[in-house]
Symmetry: C2
Subunit: 254 residues, 2 copies
């Protein structure tokens, strides 16, 4: 049930081939990493000449960009699902537990899709700056983290944080606007004070950088030889970060 009738046969063929192309590239990246991705190689995998690929994608970097967007959406879905099933549990998880679940899910995704993680959160590929089309997809993880902090605030469970003193006037107005839109949701409930929203936004930053830093350290070997139980160590890092922004993260005894 396509929105527009089966369009032309050509367009269908084109879409189909593009999908195959992306799939092949994804496979090669999973096997060898983004830096090794060779357009000629995926062309060979597909049984077409290398020049034919250029009918469907502008350049190697453009192909990478497509895959970056895919990866952002993938991890976005993973953390959204983790957060959703935490809050949908019976009894619903408190925000601290949700944060822990989200963090574990993020790290788990990165472990399973190392090269996708590298693609989006690792060293940017040589020449290009992240195209603007990617930022929308990148925000999904941020949104989940922000929602968790906001939920804690709403339940009155948010403790004080070391950053409270400097949070005011820190974020750009655009950022706060975006956050207000998220918190307010589609319905216009009682207005949430901007200062509170800003404070919540600032609190999500350490959560994000912790996710990024912990996962990078884990995957890139900076924790090598330090422990036999990486999961437990990462849990400790997550717990510390959660506590630092006022979440109560239950560790150990469960």
């Amino acid at each position: 049930m396509p929105a527009t009738p089966p369009v032309s046969a050509r367009e269908r063929a084109r879409a189909s081939f593009t999908a195959d192309l992306l799939a092949a590239a994804r496979t090669r990246i999973a096997a060898e990493g983004a830096a090794e991705l060779s357009l000629r190689a995926v062309a060979r995998d597909l049984g077409v000449s290398s020049s034919a690929v250029y009918r469907y994608v502008d350049s190697r970097d453009a192909l990478l960009t497509l895959l970056i967007i895919e990866a952002y959406d993938e991890v976005g879905t993973v953390v959204e699902t983790a957060a959703a099933s935490a809050t949908a549990a019976d009894p619903p998880a408190d925000p601290g537990t949700t944060w822990l679940a989200v963090g574990r899910a993020f790290i788990g995704w990165a472990r399973e899709h190392r090269h996708s993680f590298e693609l989006v959160y690792g060293t940017p590929v040589p020449g290009y700056a992240a195209p603007p089309d990617t930022v929308v997809h990148a925000t999904r993880v941020w949104a989940v983290l922000g929602a968790t902090v906001a939920a804690a605030a709403q339940r009155g469970e948010l403790g004080p944080a070391a950053l409270d003193g400097v949070a005011h006037g820190l974020m750009s107005t655009e950022m706060i606007d975006a956050a207000v839109r998220l918190v307010g949701g589609p319905v216009a409930g009682p207005a949430v004070p901007r200062e509170l929203v800003e404070n919540l936004v600032v609190r999500t930053v350490p959560l994000f950088t912790t996710l990024l830093g912990a996962t990078t350290a884990e995957l890139f070997g900076h924790l090598h030889g330090m422990t036999d139980d990486h999961d437990a160590l990462l849990d400790a890092v997550l717990a510390a970060a959660g506590a630092s922004v006022g979440l109560r993260v239950p560790l150990g005894g469960g």
Copy 2:
């Protein structure tokens, strides 16, 4: 005053050329990034043929490894200096302030030497795992962080942390041994209980992952458009991390 007499002229020439080679590679990396480093290009810069370079270095990756070690030592020196001048100030900085200074120095180094940061903390280059020769140099940053936490403990200024409950039995014995050696120092003072040392080691982990995550986020554009004052936001992240492991970080009115 060489330790061994001027050795042979050949050896001196070899050492000299190797130094030139590294310098040229360093320059090119600073200009274009590690991924773009071309052996042929540095050969051209040096006015020799590309094949001549292979007399001095096994491969492109081996050259990268040499530069990785240099970069580790560079950042190690930077953070050591920052910590030293903080504690040497009058009055000496408390551990929380030292941590802030160390964090700022780390981020500052990364900003000034973006490509060096990418080299050591970014996505590992394609095929190879970090050669064991690099780990010794990598520990210097860890040592500074650990010493800061240890100093706070010694002064009785270390607050409780969310990870206290799970810290025991977390780290490998080798890791704790290494830390004991560091804390004990060259002289054999009163024995520090291993459990305390382990707790201190676990506390340095969030500090390191915060450094890594905050710097990665900053340099790789994940904080884009969120604030106009990146320094202040990063300070907030550092403060949160410090507080989460029991350091008192004075921010704002400081």
